[in-house]
Symmetry: C2
Subunit: 389 residues, 2 copies
């Protein structure tokens, strides 16, 4: 089996981006072990490590699968064997993925390089991955098209008397049949979500422990987010935020549906969400501060008299958007204290949402590519409130 599935130029381009980020942190090398980063660098997940020196050749140390082949591929059984290969050219500073790898693994890996200073390769990789390549954007565009098709099916999957989870299960199946890979990659191990966050009625106001934009009680306290088994009732909204991973890269899209007539306040808040998106689409140019986008959105919600409901009601999220790609929580972060500055070919999801008591969650979310002229949309389902009945 060939290890590297990326076209040669593409692989070289990604390594270059990593090296630029390494230089900014004065790292002489990085050793990569996290699945999302291994996938970024080779186009496949494997069990092993990639060693990238600032100068010299990249080496891939592969534990599994067996019989993996390719340029500079070295089979190993344990990470200690890496030092035999690096040997006399060991660097004086090396970056490890200290924000995602377990403490004990970082200690074990750092012991491979005796006397070496440890830096943060998580920051390096986040930086490198924040600006997408043309190949990556193609994969994200494909996910957007497939996800849009799945969303177009949602009204046909609903029937009166259904519970939230019954509707979610129908959407899960439609999405899987469309090719959704299911896995929902999130950096770090504290956030968990199975396939979708579908919120109907007042369940949207149940706070969650997770740092998602929206909450929900969940079906069980072992996974307290999303559907709680409520029957979807007239006068309520259903907000669907469904896994968009069809290619290894995901889009993030939310649409809201209404069952019969809903309150004028909820209608107004939904229109406000769309208006915020339109405004941010023109303001969101490369060079703009992420925190400025947040302020624009928050001010629009405040001026509309909707601040109380903005990004949650009982519990509020601290951001209105985030980078998206291999994982759902990439750079830049669109939050009040974010220091990120939008760059061309960032891919971001914007989700200015509202929770209206007794009605439910309203608003939309789209995924965009940042350009010099504003945001280019990748998620195309109709944005107005659609009727389920």
């Amino acid at each position: 089996m060939q290890l590297n599935l990326l076209p040669h130029n593409e692989a070289a381009l990604r390594i270059e981006k990593v090296r630029s980020a390494m230089a900014a942190q004065n790292l002489e090398a990085v050793l990569i072990a996290d699945n999302a980063n291994l996938y970024y660098l080779t186009g496949r997940v494997f069990a092993g490590y990639i060693y990238i020196p600032a100068i010299g050749e990249t080496r891939c140390f592969v534990r599994r699968p067996v019989k993996t082949e390719g340029e500079n591929v070295i089979p190993i059984r344990k990470p200690e064997q890496i030092s035999e290969s690096i040997g006399s050219v060991a660097p004086s500073t090396i970056g490890l993925e200290t924000d995602t790898l377990p403490y004990s693994l970082v200690l074990r890996l750092s012991a491979v390089f005796t006397g070496v200073e440890i830096g943060n390769a998580s920051a390096v990789m986040r930086q490198a991955r924040a600006v997408k390549t043309t190949e990556e954007i193609k994969k994200i565009e494909t996910s957007g098209i497939k996800q849009t098709h799945v969303y177009s099916l949602i009204p046909s999957l609903f029937h009166e008397g259904m519970t939230d989870i019954e509707l979610q299960i129908e959407i899960e199946k439609a999405s899987r049949l469309e090719g959704c890979l299911g896995q929902f990659r999130i950096a770090g191990n504290s956030m968990e979500l199975y396939m979708a966050n579908l919120l109907s009625g007042d369940n949207a106001d149940n706070p969650t422990p997770y740092d998602f934009a929206m909450g929900g009680e969940g079906l069980d306290p072992s996974l307290p987010v999303g559907c709680n088994g409520s029957i979807i009732r007239h006068g309520e909204t259903v907000m669907a935020d469904i896994n968009g991973n069809f290619t290894g890269y995901m889009t993030d899209m939310t649409r809201t549906f209404r069952v019969g007539q809903i309150s004028p306040l909820a209608e107004k808040a939904h229109r406000c969400s769309i208006e915020i998106c339109r405004r941010l689409e023109s303001e969101g140019k490369s060079g703009v501060k992420a925190s400025d986008l947040y302020s624009i959105a928050e001010n629009m919600a405040r001026e509309a008299g909707l601040h109380e409901y903005f990004m949650g009601h009982c519990q509020k999220a601290g951001f209105i958007g985030h980078g998206v790609g291999i994982e759902i929580n990439e750079l830049p972060v669109i939050a009040p204290r974010s220091r990120d500055i939008l760059a061309e070919n960032n891919v971001i999801a914007l989700e200015p949402k509202f929770v209206i008591p007794k009605t439910g969650a309203v608003g939309i979310e789209n995924t965009y590519v940042v350009t010099a002229d504003g945001l280019r949309k990748l998620t195309f389902a109709p944005e107005n409130l659609e009727n389920l009945i």
Copy 2:
């Protein structure tokens, strides 16, 4: 919202088990942050920390959800606020979950306790959780009953000409409608699986990077395990190893189906798997070495002339069983070099499987409670090869 959902006695019992494991490691306190362990200690997942001193009262520091209440519940915004509460009674050694928490989080948490020696709370919690309480076993039993029902539906979900993933999607839906929570908890962040591993025909012989017992190419190199979109053909087997998390605690069960006639070798290997299970059910008493169970299984496979196919063909797994509970990879580990000794109320899954080239994977997996007299089975689907056609 009340933080602790466990009955008072149950919560106290679990804390006692943790304290016993702490004493064995000479830890004066542990600070717990991992979702699986927080769920173990309170019956719910929350964002925060539980501080357990060897002597004195447990304290719960809660970041999210907002408005969480209960005995010794202290709301915080960041972990640094923990030190205000611990203050002058700070321990000299504290255990953190160094095997699962990211390196940077462990450093941040250890800075909360100045001058304190850091120990391994992952080991403490693994040890405490390995022996299940009566309440936990009830939850696992419930999962086993529901999972058994889902397996009984599998033949009715198949139709000729189906691909492996089409069948898996039907099983996913049936399982979710039965109440499967979907989330498949695995300790550590290197193993990934979406809902099920369903292997038909020769795809079973495709090696995976993950440390699961079986492989499969996967639908995409970003998630290289399980179904690869092959049409399920006559003369092949379909091995179904489907998520059994219905209660926050899971059972792990595998059953194999055949499409028409399959090779006598595959039939023989399947019978051998059942025979190994029967033998281990009587040998697997408390006090027995896990490595001895492995040897018995391996010897039975060898004596049957099936060693070449045992636990994989192109690539082999290094174990035949594992503890199961909140996570799929708990103690004890049933492997050649395991030092674990079976204890009463361990819950283990045994999966002596074979991969037969050109036919596919065969064998079964059951989840058991360890007793003084042997293993008590919790997964009840029929074990013989069932016909899909």
